[in-house]
Amino acid sequence: MAKSKEAAPDIPFRIMPALTDLNAHFWQGGRDGELRFQRCKGCGYYLHPPSVICPKCWSKDIGIEAVSGRAEVLTFSVNVQNWMPGLEPPFVLAIVRCLEQDDLRLTTNIVNIDPYEVTIGMAVQVVFEPHVDQEVWLPLFEPAK
């Protein structure tokens, strides 16, 4: 497995997101073990990807909140192709839905399971892959305990 020079030995190379004021809460919440999203202070709607206005009530009063990290697999694929250095195939790419809100979802990897055992509807929970020197903690998911 190809590895970033800086990453810990068991952490695969990943292309990193460009951090901004708008997205830092999402990529860095894992430092504190928290999966964080924007949440409208007016109506309580979670926003992802981050935005500047609530699309439900048009409030601009938006805060950051942690969710439980529990989610459900909406769909997935076992990626077999070795596209680029990084996570060793076969690995699972998935879209998961956070339990807090019907349309709060993200693309992620499902880890700590045989890739071919993943199913749609499976209950999962967040686990963070630290890229400490890059100040990014990737939210991945594993089977819920």
Partner: protein, 404 residues
């Protein structure tokens, strides 16, 4: 039809000519030369000269990763020393054929008479021996300083650089909700290979059986190698003309009956609500509001197959079968064969004839309506065709008819 006829501006546009450069897996030629070859061929096909071209439209313009664009507006404008009254090129289009729709709107608005529209790629040569990573963000290097922004930041950090994996997740959801099988999906690739064998410009023309398909190596479940289109080099061009110029044209032009480019809901690969479909269903729904024709009137369908599942989304989205029923529709492959009820991707599509990135479909739709398909000509004088481009959050479609 629910739209008032005088609001269907695209009917003032026709397609007067099409052209294509040499097409190959790797040609190692200057991509602008491929672009120009296609443009000059299309102008000649329309019976026009460069002096007649007063509009330009292209996707994606001179931008994107290596191999993605063989020439933007300025390149072609200057190479051909044109005088243009209107032009546009860009990446944020509703699918690649959005560039053709833009041209239809420009002539309809009276801004110009003859728009040269093109798309060219040289991904095959750009990849060279470096594999797909060579044309991907970061170039396959672990020491890259590249960082993902925009929508790619939500995908690339999870080692998902290819639309193959994103679309595989849509396919998986479709399989889950509707019981679709690889045997059914595989008919798209098998059918394309049969058609490519009849196309002198096809890239992969050797016979391929369903067993060959099922035995191919997996790329990202449930998509295998043959569900993925073939990076290639080549340019395609079409001329969109205003309907009052028909007397100046070499042959009866193709009429633009209706166009649509809708995306309802979130414009995103992973946030679009219905993960077993795509905005193809939104574009399809809007298209049929702009015409009295029905899906059953369509004589051949040229629909995006960058990955086979996108064609499934188009089949359902355009109403050729009910939602969730593309699997049974494809079963056995007879319906989509050249002599079937809906001949599909009759030039071999991008799966077997190369990733011309959307424009191969409109080229082929016109070729078929003009009866110029040679060995792959759809029988019984097809009069109505659709060309559909884009996958994921991008969708554009054109309904075309014989001008005779």
């Amino acid at each position: 039809m629910s739209e008032a006829t005088d609001l269907i501006g695209e009917r003032r546009a026709v397609i007067s000519g099409v052209g294509q450069s040499d097409i190959g897996r790797r040609l190692f030629r200057d991509p602008l030369e491929l672009t120009i070859d296609a443009c000059l061929a299309a102008i000649e096909d329309a019976g026009l000269t460069t002096a007649d071209i007063d509009g330009l439209s292209t996707y994606p313009g001179a931008t994107g990763p290596n191999g993605f664009s063989g020439g933007g507006i300025t390149d072609v404008h200057d190479a051909l020393r044109l005088n243009v009254n209107w032009f546009t090129g860009g990446l944020e289009y509703p699918g690649q054929l959005g560039a053709v729709i833009n041209a239809c709107l420009a002539v309809s608005a009276g801004l110009c008479k003859h728009v040269l529209v093109w798309r060219s790629v040289y991904e095959g040569s750009a990849q060279g021996s470096g594999g797909r990573a060579a044309v991907m963000p970061g170039g396959g290097s672990t020491t890259t300083s590249f960082k993902a922004s925009g929508f790619m930041q939500w995908l690339l950090p999870f080692s998902a650089p290819s639309a193959a994996t994103w679309i595989a997740m849509y396919a998986q959801r479709h399989f889950h909700e509707y019981g679709t099988t690889r045997e059914q999906l595989g008919q798209i690739a098998v059918n394309s290979r049969k058609n490519a064998a009849l196309n002198p410009k096809g890239i992969y023309r050797d016979p391929m059986s369903l067993d060959d398909y099922l035995a191919a190596r997996m790329i990202s479940t449930p998509l295998c190698l043959y569900d993925c289109d073939v990076p290639c080099d080549g340019g395609t061009a079409v001329i969109v003309s205003r309907v009052d110029t028909i007397p100046d044209l070499r042959k009866p032009p193709i009429k633009v009956e209706a166009v649509a480019a809708a995306t309802h809901g979130r414009p995103s690969w992973d946030q679009y609500d219905d993960l077993a479909s795509m905005p193809a269903q939104d574009a399809g729904k809007e298209l049929w509001k702009r015409t009295d024709l029905k899906p059953s009137d369509v004589d051949c369908a040229q629909m995006y197959d960058g990955f086979s599942f996108i064609t499934v989304a188009w089949l359902e989205g355009m109403g050729f079968c009910k939602k969730g029923e593309a699997g049974p529709f494809l079963e056995g492959g007879q319906r989509i064969a050249l002599d079937g009820e809906l001949p599909l991707n009759t030039n071999g599509g991008q799966l077997s004839s190369g990733r011309l990135h959307g424009f191969g479909f409109i080229h082929e739709a016109c070729v078929q309506l003009w009866g110029e398909g040679g060995d792959r000509q759809v029988p019984n004088n097809p009069e109505v065709a659709v060309a559909c481009s884009g996958g994921g959050p991008m969708a554009s479609t054109l309904l075309l008819t014989q001008g005779r």
